[in-house]
Each structure stands twice: as C-alpha cells, then as structure tokens.
Symmetry: C2
Subunit: 588 residues, 2 copies
Amino acid sequence: MHEIGFIRDLAVVMLVAGATTILFQRLRQPVLLGYILAGVLIGPHTPGMLVDDPRAIDDISNLGVVLLMFTLGLEFSVRKLREVGIGVLAVAVGEVGLMLWIGVGIGGLLGWKGMDALFLGAIISLSSTMVATRTLAEGGQRHQPFAQLVVGLLVAEDLLAIVMLTLLTAVAIGGSVQAEAAFTLIGHLGLFVVVGMILGLLLLPRLVDYVAGFDRDETLLVSVLGICFGASLLAVWMGFSVALGAFLAGAVVAESRSVGRVLKLVEPLRDMFAALFFVAIGLKIDPAMLLQYIVPALLIAAVVIVGKTLACSVGIFVVGHDARTSLRSGLGMAQIGEFSFVIATLGLSLGVISDFIYPIAVAVSVVCMAASPYLNRSADGLANGLRRATPRSLRLLATSYSGWLENLKPVNENAAIAAIFRRLLWHIAINVLLVVTLFVMGAYVNAHSWGWFSTLGIGRDLRHTLIWASALFLSLPMLIAVYRKAEALGMLLAEIGIRERFAGSYTWAIRNVLARTIPLATLLVLALLVSALGSAILPPRGIALSLLVVGVVLAVVLWRGLVKMHARLQAALKETLNKPGPSADGSD
Amino acid sequence: MHEIGFIRDLAVVMLVAGATTILFQRLRQPVLLGYILAGVLIGPHTPGMLVDDPRAIDDISNLGVVLLMFTLGLEFSVRKLREVGIGVLAVAVGEVGLMLWIGVGIGGLLGWKGMDALFLGAIISLSSTMVATRTLAEGGQRHQPFAQLVVGLLVAEDLLAIVMLTLLTAVAIGGSVQAEAAFTLIGHLGLFVVVGMILGLLLLPRLVDYVAGFDRDETLLVSVLGICFGASLLAVWMGFSVALGAFLAGAVVAESRSVGRVLKLVEPLRDMFAALFFVAIGLKIDPAMLLQYIVPALLIAAVVIVGKTLACSVGIFVVGHDARTSLRSGLGMAQIGEFSFVIATLGLSLGVISDFIYPIAVAVSVVCMAASPYLNRSADGLANGLRRATPRSLRLLATSYSGWLENLKPVNENAAIAAIFRRLLWHIAINVLLVVTLFVMGAYVNAHSWGWFSTLGIGRDLRHTLIWASALFLSLPMLIAVYRKAEALGMLLAEIGIRERFAGSYTWAIRNVLARTIPLATLLVLALLVSALGSAILPPRGIALSLLVVGVVLAVVLWRGLVKMHARLQAALKETLNKPGPSADGSD
C-alpha cells in the first residue's frame, strides 16, 4: 500500500512510546521524561532517524494540547476552585509572579533580548499538573493533606496559565508590553470567560446529561468532543487560544452529572495524544543544540527547583499550615511541564523568540521531571534536617504565628454572616459583569453591522437608539437583581454594623436609613455605569433620557415578572452548580 | 495562534460529528449514515464549504481503519472462531463468493472495465460489522439465537476480508488475476498469519498481562497501542496491509486476561476515529457525481439487500436452523459498510479503479445503512408472510430436512472421539505448518544474505549445509511432535476402526499393525516433505544424506528432551488460549 508515510511515522512513534512507557514504569521514572527522550532518539537529528516527517506528527500532537486542556477543565470544576480557598489562590498568584520575574531577570542577566526573557519567565513560572499529580499518585500520597494543597495550587495555576497564554499572544503580536492594552485584553478575556461559563453552564451540562441518557458511550464521547472542539473554535474565532476554549468546555461539562463517565471516555484519548505530544517534543530537539546550551539550562533548572520550592513552601506556611506540610507542598510543585512546551511552541509559531529557547525549555523540564520523584521521596528527610538546623527561637516564632492565624479565623455566627456577605457580593459582581457584557456586545454590533442596518433603511441615530434600548432592556433583569441584592446587603450591614448595645433606642431608625442608603447608592452607581457603557453608542441626549425614563417605568411595571425571570435563570445556574453529582468528584 | 488550519478543520469535523450523533440517535437512525451525510454537507463540493484541507482529515481518518481493525481483532479471538462452527464458516465463504461473483457480473453488464468490476464485487461482498452489531444492539436483540449467528458470520467475514484485501492489493499491483500468483500469495498470507499468531500468542498476552499489573490505564493503553501499530508496521514491511497487522494484533491481545480492560480503553479511540473516518468519507463525495450515478447505485443496493439476505438465509437454513432464525440472520447481514470503503480507498490509492466507483460504493452503503433498521424491524412480519405464502408441501419438506440434519449429529461417545480426532489433526497441521515456515525462512535467508555470508568466508556449499542443518535442527521438536500425534492417531483409528465383533481374536494384532503403520507412513511423508522443502537450498547430496542421518540420530538421542521442550511450548500456547478470562468474553 502506498501513501502510508503518515501512518508509518505515527506507528513508529506509538511503538516507541509503548516500549518507553513499559520501560520507564518498570524503572519507576516519570513516563513523560521517557517520551521526550524517546522522541529525541528517533528524531530527525539523530543517526538512524526513523521518522520521515516530524511536521505531520507535530500537527496531530497539537490535538494533545486540546485534549489535555479539556481534561484539566473536566477535573477543574467551579466547585473545586471554591474549595481551594483564597489563601492558596494568593500563594499561587504570588509564586507564579515571582517565578515570572526571576525568569525575566535571568534572561536579562544572560543578555537575551526582551521577548526571549519574557517567554523564559512564562516558561518557568507554571508547574506541571501532569508531572505533579503523577508523582503524588506514584507515591501513594493522593489523599494526604499536602497533596490537597498541591492540587489546589495546580488548579489556581491552570487559571493563571490561561491568562498568561492570552497575554503572551497579545504581547507577541503587538510587539511590546503596554499596560493599557494588557488591561483591555484581560478585560476581554474575563468577559469571554464569564459570559462563556454562564451561558455554557445554563446549556451544556443539561445537554450532556440528556445525551448520557441514551446510554451509548459512543454518542456521549463524540458529542462531548464536539463541545470541546466547538468551544476551541469559538475561542480562536474570538482571538483567544484553542487551549482556553478546550479548558472552558471542560470546566462547563464538569458540572454535568455524567462527568465521571465523560472523564473515563476522554482519558484514553488524552493519554494517547499526550504520549504523541511528548514524543513530538523530543522529535523537535537537536541533541547538539541541547549540549550547546547545557550550562544555562542546568542553571535555570536549579533556579526552578529551588525557587518554586521556596516560594510555595513559604507561601503555604504564611497562609497557615505547619512547616512539614508546607515543605512537602513546595517540593511537589518544583517542576515545569506541559505549559512550558505550550508557551514555547506559541513563541516559536509566532516567530518572536530565538531558536534556543525551545531546547532550553525542554532541557529544564527534563531535569525537573527526572528530579521530581527524588524530591518527593526526600521530603521527609529534608523536613527533619531543616527542623534540626532551625534555631529554637525561629521555631517558637513559627509556632506562635500558626497559633495567631488560628485565632483570626471567623467562627460560628460570624462565619455564617461572612458567607452570606460573600455570596451577595459575588452575585452583584456577576450581574454587573453580565450588564457590561450586554453593552459591549451592543457596541460590537454598532461597530460591525453598518451595512446590515443601512440596507434596512435605519439611520445612525435610530440605530444607536435601537441598540441602546435593546441592551438596556435585556439588562433590566440583571439591574433589578443587583438592586435587590444591594437591598439585602444593606439590611445585613445594618444588622451587623449597628448593634443594639451601641445605638440604643435609635437602633431601628439608624438601621432603616442604612438599609435604604445602600441600595439607593447602588442605583446611582448603576445609572452611571449604564451611561458610561452607553457612551460608545450614546444616542442624542434627549432620546437617551427618554429611554432611561421608559426603562425605569418598565422596570417598575414589569418588576415582578423580571424578578421571577431572574430567579428562574439563577435557580437553573445554581441547580447545575450544586448538583450532588455522585461521580462529580471523580478527580482521578 | 497561527497555523491552526488542521486543528480548525478537525474541530469543525468533530463539532459536526457531535451534533450529528445526537440528532441521529434522537431520530433512531444509524449514526454512521449521519456521519457520511454530514461529511457531504460540510465537504469541499458543497456551497459554504467549511473544511479547507480534506486531505489532512483523510490522513488521520486512516487511523480509524487501524483502530477499527484492532478492536475487531480484540473482539474476534481464536476462541470465538472455534465457537462459530464449520457450518457458519462455510455459509460465509459461500455467501461472500456469491456476492463477489454477482458484483463482477453486474460490473460486466454495465460495461465497466475488468478491475472496476472486480472491485465492485469485493465492495459488495462484505457486510458491515459496525452497522450490523449496532442494529442488533439498538433493537435489544444481542442475545437472541439469530444474533449469535449474525456475529458468527461477521467474524468469518472479517477473516475473508483480510484475505480479500491482500489478494486485491496483489492483483492491483500485478495488473491481472493469475491463479498461480494468487495461490502463492494466499500461501504467504497464511504463513504470516499462522507464524504471527503463534509467536504473538506465546509472547504478547503475557506482556499485556504484565503491563496490566502496573495498574495504570495510561501505561496499558499506550503499550497496547504500541503493539497494534508495531504489528501494522510489520505487516506493511512484509508487503501486507496495515489492516491485517492491526487485526492480528487485536486477535492476539484478545487472548490476554486483561482484554476487557484493553477493550474499554481502546473503544473511545475507535469511536472518535470511526466518526472521523465516516465524516472523511462524506468529505470525499461530490453530490453532483452521486446524482449522476444514482441509477446504478440504487440497482446495486437492491442487489446487495436481496442477494445478501437470500444467500445468508438459505445458507443458514441449509446448515440446520429454522426458517425464522435463518431469515432474521439474513436480514441482519443485508448491508455493506466499512470494508467497502477500505477496499474502495485501496483501489483509488493504487490508481486501478475509475473515479465513479467510490461515490457508488458510498451511495450503496448509505442506502443499505438507512434500510438496515427497517429491515430488522420488518423481519417478523416478513417471516410470517413467507410462512403463509409457502405451500404446505414445501413446509413439510423443510421440517423433515431439519429433522434429518438433527439425526446426523454425532452423539455421546462418538462426539468425544470426533473431538479428539479433530484435535490431533489440528495439532499435526499446525506443526507441519511450523516446519514449512522454518524452511521457508531458511530459503529466505539463503536468498537474501549473500554478502553477509561471504564476508564470513562461508562458501555456497557450506552456507547451504548450515542453513539446512539449522532449519532441520529447529524443526526437530515439531517433527517429533507430528510423529507422536500420528502414533496417537493410529491408536485411535485402530480402536475405532477395528471393532472386536468383526476381527475376533485377531483384534489386538490388527490394531497393533494399524497403530504402527500410520506413524511410519507419517515419518515417510515427513522425510519427503523435508527433502522437498530443502530442494531450494539443497546441499550436495552426500552432505544432505549425512545430515539426515545426524538428524535422525539426534532425534533418537535427544527424544525425551525434545518432547519435553515441545510439551512446554504447547502448554504455554494452550494456557494462553484456554485461560478462563473473566472478561475475556466481554464481547461488547
């Protein structure tokens, strides 16, 4: 049979991957490391090259990124992010920022150009979910407290990775780092994510559960893959990366009741394409080039291991865990992996980084991956050694710090009030974001649909008015919801803030005033917001004013209907999120 | 991100496949039909084309063939073939041969050139495992007796498909159908299959079970895929098709204890790539061309449905099943599918068939697929109608035929003896095949390693002697086994053939003679065989004779050791085949 070059290459890669996985599993070394080394061995730069056209393999290995991000999304889920807690989130942000800064600094010290240094920073800032979770699984430590922290950090880093991929794309295309552009981009990104998540959460989990009802694995798998690739397409079309779309699709599908089944079906695909992905990385590497840059690579690897361990350990300790747990978590995060390759590939494909960055990224991650099981095994010894080496006074300080943190935590009634408070603020934020989205969409329609309107014989003013009115009308349920949440917030604050023992008999009156002031202030802020949002498409002032009046009148007249509608929407969302999925936590 | 054309195309295909699978599942129509139609819709020949480069999609859709054949192999297993029974096997051969002949005939009637007619015959001769098993599953009839017959026929057809693919490749490359060449090719194929299966069965199930012991799905999956693609590579290297290698790999892995787990892991991959495969078929179709050839396509589809139904029904009835079961089985086989596309693609890629064959194959299979659920549902009505329409005399004849067949079946003691008899013949056949293989390999070494020998300073005569001696030496265990089986056969025949009531007091003596004659005759035949086999590399007669003497002496001296060695090899094979795999029959 002719024309089977591609299948032949793929067959060689899969055969080698199969042999590698058995060998490395037997040697108890990370399999990913084996894939990369095997790729180097059979690559076009080595004598006895076995793969004719690494480009074709590279093409389909990109499927690996999509499926990897999709399963990361499936295992992510909004619920888990809520469980991670604000402290771990802060640690992740701080640690990633620090590593980014260190990376850029090293690039500068080595005399690299700005873009190379920036990409180096990004490459070394993100730990590898695949390596870290495998190391935990292989050590049988999945359910230890420190493992939960590592998983939490990884989940938070997944989010940061998405932000970083988007920013780097924009920066690389724009050619420079402009604060304003970055800010706009993050705004767009946030909007896309929030709107995508909300619309997705309303539709997709239901769809997936419906399809799961057919009880045919094939149907479920193919339709879920359709969702994954569809979301990737949408993300690309909106100017974001494939990875973002796949991740969001995963996070949304994760809220369906059948997520356990979906994960079981998607995992073999991910495993196959992950193997291809890592072998393809090896295929791209010229060992000669690797040797040439061995010194900076080893230096950077040392920085990654030491830097990540320190940053994570200290961070975890500061947010209130004991020294041993902190050190273990830090050692668990001391590596870089799949995101580094995704970022390096991004830089290469955009043509903004030098050729030597990719082999360095590979070398650094190979060293870190190889070290990872040893670091994990040496954690206990290291913790004991550190304990002996620490002066008594420092140990006392550490203990009293932990005790002080323990006292700070809100208890009982206060904790409950804090929870309600957080939820109200959360609701207000999401509703305001939705309103902003509607107006941005209006501005988009205004800017891009000239011809369409003029063929309908609609002039500029009428067009503005129409769009503005539609945006306002569609925002009404959200605006009313914000007002109602603000009322509740006012009452809550009044209840907590004005205690009877201080205000005496005036308590009720003062509370009443406070409870009214807050929603009124909110109303004012909302009016300002709507005008500001409308400024891009603001119709002549008279019409705007009359529309506003009509909006208010409509709001009052339709109040009950709109409240009901919003409640229904919200209930649908909440039901999706709080579903007691039996296998929803199948975090394997 | 740039250069994502391929991922974009793939994403479009997966999105469309996802939507299609839900829609067709909802409409209770065959999903494969939906994939093909969706492919036509988004293809490059339709306005609003969505896929830029169908070639890239086609490339990776070929993975679908490999994975499809691998899972067919996984579900095949030697044990199942044994269960199918000789009757069903004969029906399959007869029915496929008939359809092949009819197809060639139709091609001739339509005035097509010889190769087109031959490929048409091949295309319409093989039923679709995917369509047939799905129709059964959707009708909830998996465990009815007629479903077992359909599955048996499909398993037998899988084997015939392998033979046909190999023959067609050879014929297409050779340009004509020469009986001698075809015979040689079938011989080679048989040799490859038997040797591959025996060596594979000795090594691979053990390897798979060993890897399964790591208890990591990823490792198991990647190494099994390595086996699958490795076997495909080997098959291609030996001049056979990828499909053959993948199928054999599946059939061998099916004998491991972990086959249930392997199937669960491979199925999602197959489902994804099967979806891609069928959409890719649609992508290749130009609706205009389809319309142009609609009349012959409909004609052929009618022939397929009627011909397959009749051939299978009559065949199944003749081997001893009632009329209703026979009709149901026949209707279950009345379609063509994935093999038709594989064969049509083969013809296209070898450039031996006209362009219109492919769209006709697609149109015919689409019609058959669409008809398949209706045929299945109408089976009962049809059977009743047929019953009413049949004259009483014919019904009586049918009943008495069934009764006569029932009486023919061997019972009790005879059945047990027949089973032992079959097993002995089976063992002898396999051992002779192995001996032939060794000598063919010797001839191969002799023909292809000139340089290698001459660098070692080995002349022509010495080389011949060496190769011949090695082949003979390596065959010794097999030859001795054949002799011992022949002894057992002789004793068995003596026991059955010479009954005491006929031979009286001479019974023992006559039995003894018969029991000795058969192994001696076998020994003679073996000697002739070995000389004939050696003729290609026959050393000067004197050396050959002395070698034969040495061989006989060695055989006598080492007899016990060789018997033991052979017993160990055979035990290993048998253990593999008879393992009571708990999920080994996970025939899903």
